[in-house]
């Protein structure tokens, strides 16, 4: 099992300034799932499906150069790690790259097994190596043991299932404004009702014994159906994705109201064309409308 690649300048900026900060807001433990063509950051896909699920997908060219992967599971590798440690390692590599040596400097990432201090057991790490003019800085991010074949298949299946699009999607006009609104709404109540109509209306509402507070956005794109209530905390967490600076957002409710799906799209810089090499989407569990 081998993995080695060079993170491109664009890849560093995507991870450091946009994706990792957004993902960090949504969860702590992620799986990095690497295939021949893609890298996925996955949260909460195979653990008990309580809480937000998030999926960030990159075509390998979006992040890496000189991408080499091999494993006995059809060249797929997956492991779990703490996203905040990864963010720290990337941040500090960025400061080295940009601080002194210019772009020519390369940030290499690879999977290694090392003997940590005071241990007799070699442990797996994701290692970032920044080569400077006279020095090299190596940062080891501790990771879990790579997933077994069975676990990997389970993760792949969960990923495939999570890719299903809800039959109903509406495009949210201004996701920063919506984020801001939901952030403030949180002070008023915990439970948020979301409904999406086939006429392109998105309706958010908090209703308690003392107050009803809601927002309606009309004439949005799409077709649909009414869904039950996800928890507002999750909802607003998913909106932390705005840190990833998406160019547009879609909301949809999965069949039978199983979850609220939020899909973010990114444009190719300087155009209004969707950049298909990057995607981010989140699935929010729906509370039983009878509970709480």
């Amino acid at each position: 099992m081998k993995f080695k690649a060079v993170v491109t300048e664009n890849g560093v900026s995507l991870l450091d300034r946009r994706f990792l900060p957004a993902l960090e807001k949504m969860g702590k433990i992620y799986h990095l799932f690497l295939t021949r063509d893609h890298a996925f950051f996955l949260h909460n896909l195979i653990t008990t499906a309580d809480g937000i699920q998030s999926i960030a997908q990159f075509r390998k060219q979006a992040l890496f150069d000189d991408y080499r992967i091999s494993s006995q599971n059809e060249d797929r590798i997956a492991f779990a790690f703490d996203i905040s440690l990864l963010l720290r390692a990337v941040r500090s590599s960025v400061s080295i790259i940009s601080g002194e040596f210019g772009i020519a400097n390369r940030l290499q990432v690879k999977l290694v097994k090392k003997l940590p201090p005071n241990s007799t057991q070699p442990m797996p790490f994701l290692t970032f190596e920044t080569k400077g003019y006279k020095s090299a800085v190596i940062q080891d991010v501790p990771i879990s043991k790579p997933l077994s074949r069975a676990q990997l298949l389970q993760l792949q299946a969960a990923l495939d299932a999570a890719q299903d699009l809800p039959p109903t999607l509406v495009q949210v006009p201004d996701s920063n404004r919506l984020q801001n609104f939901v952030d403030r709404m949180k002070h008023v109540g915990d439970l948020l009702n979301v409904s999406i109509s086939k006429y392109g209306d998105l309706h958010l509402q908090i209703s308690t014994t003392l107050i009803t507070l809601g927002a309606e956005f009309r004439k949005l794109l799409v077709v649909g159906d009414k869904g039950p209530s996800p928890n507002v905390r999750h909802f607003s967490k998913s909106l932390q994705c705005h840190l990833a600076k998406p160019d547009c957002a879609f909301y949809g409710i999965a069949p039978q109201g199983a979850c609220l799906t939020v899909i973010f799209q990114f444009f190719i810089p300087g155009t209004r064309q969707t950049d298909k090499s990057i995607s981010l989407h989140c699935r929010l569990p729906v509370l039983d409308p009878g509970s709480s």
């Binding site: 404004r177 002070h187 107050i211 507070l213 809601g214 927002a215």
Partner: protein, 303 residues
């Protein structure tokens, strides 16, 4: 949406406002704890919101009708209702968009005596709220403020200075003495508790701090620190930055009145559009008054 179904002519009040953030700032100033019941009184002159801490501290926010771009009042008498201040502020806050001047319409009463609020900016997007109101509690103690004598005992100090002085008095804590002296004209705040701290504001020495001063005889009263602190601690930082004057007046029996001014003008981004209408018109100010009762204390010098 239910709120749009209501006939306007059955309402006591329908009003529209183009700067939600200004009202949020004004109301936040009197929000000294998390759960606070407020009484709202409507009249042809505007809206007054009153909050109090049993028998010791009362605050009023005056939102005059001039702050509103539309103010249609049709009630007989002066309708009053109670609501939760925290909920009201948090709710209004959701209508405020940073960098925008958001317009809202407020209506009272709804079919079930609610306070109805809705955004008035766009036809396609709508934010709406219905806040349940209560039968107001009777205001337990009347804070009729009467002047102490023929000359008022008052001083005006920059809001930031007042806040800083009161913040600094935290460590001696418990009880703060305020002394006004005509010769030399000065105001002293003195805290005695875990230690002593005295802050003197000399009128002639720093006129930029103490903007105005009126006092014909020495007076001294003590106030509980936590109530004094409530008069400045929640003034939003952007209001402190405006740094208008806060006026403090001591009335009969040592009742302290603290007055703040909060701008409800449209945010500065739109100044170029309203300059012709007059930059920072006085009518775009919300008035806030706190009344603090002095401590019952045998060594008060006066009255």
């Amino acid at each position: 949406m239910s709120s749009s179904a209501i006939e306007t002519d059955t309402s006591d009040l329908v009003c529209q406002l183009d700067n939600v953030q200004g009202i949020v700032d004004a109301l936040s100033t009197v929000r000294w704890k998390r759960h606070q019941d407020a009484v709202v009184e409507l009249s042809e002159h505007g809206i007054v919101l009153i909050v109090e801490e049993t028998g010791c501290l009362q605050a009023k926010v005056y939102l005059q009708k001039e702050l509103f771009i539309r103010y249609e009042y049709t009630a007989q008498g002066r309708p009053r209702f109670g609501l939760s201040l925290g909920l009201f502020v948090d709710c209004l806050n959701t209508f405020s968009v940073p960098g925008h001047s958001s317009s809202i319409e407020i209506q009272y009463p709804g079919p079930d005596m609610q306070l109805l609020i809705k955004s008035a900016d766009s036809l396609d997007d709508c934010i709406y709220a219905e806040i349940r109101t209560r039968i107001p509690e009777t205001i337990s103690w009347d804070y009729n403020f009467e002047p102490a004598g023929s000359t008022p005992l008052s001083f005006t100090v920059k809001s930031a200075v007042l806040k800083e002085a009161i913040d600094d008095l935290e460590w001696p804590g418990s009880s703060i003495q305020i002394i006004l002296k005509p010769v030399p004209p000065s105001v002293t705040f003195r805290g005695e508790g875990h230690g002593d701290l005295q802050i003197d504001l000399m009128y002639y020495a720093n006129t930029d701090l103490l903007i105005a001063f009126h006092c014909d005889h020495e007076v001294s009263y003590r106030y509980k620190y936590k109530f004094l602190r409530a008069t400045t601690s929640n003034v939003p930082s952007n209001v402190i930055k405006d740094n208008r004057g806060s006026k403090l007046t001591i009335g009969r029996g040592g009742m302290l009145k603290v007055q703040h001014l909060v701008s409800v003008a449209r945010p500065s981004t739109s100044h170029q559009h309203i300059d012709s209408a007059g930059y920072q018109q006085p009518s775009r100010i919300a008035y806030i008054e706190f009344f603090v009762k002095p401590e019952e204390d045998e060594d008060t010098v006066n009255d």
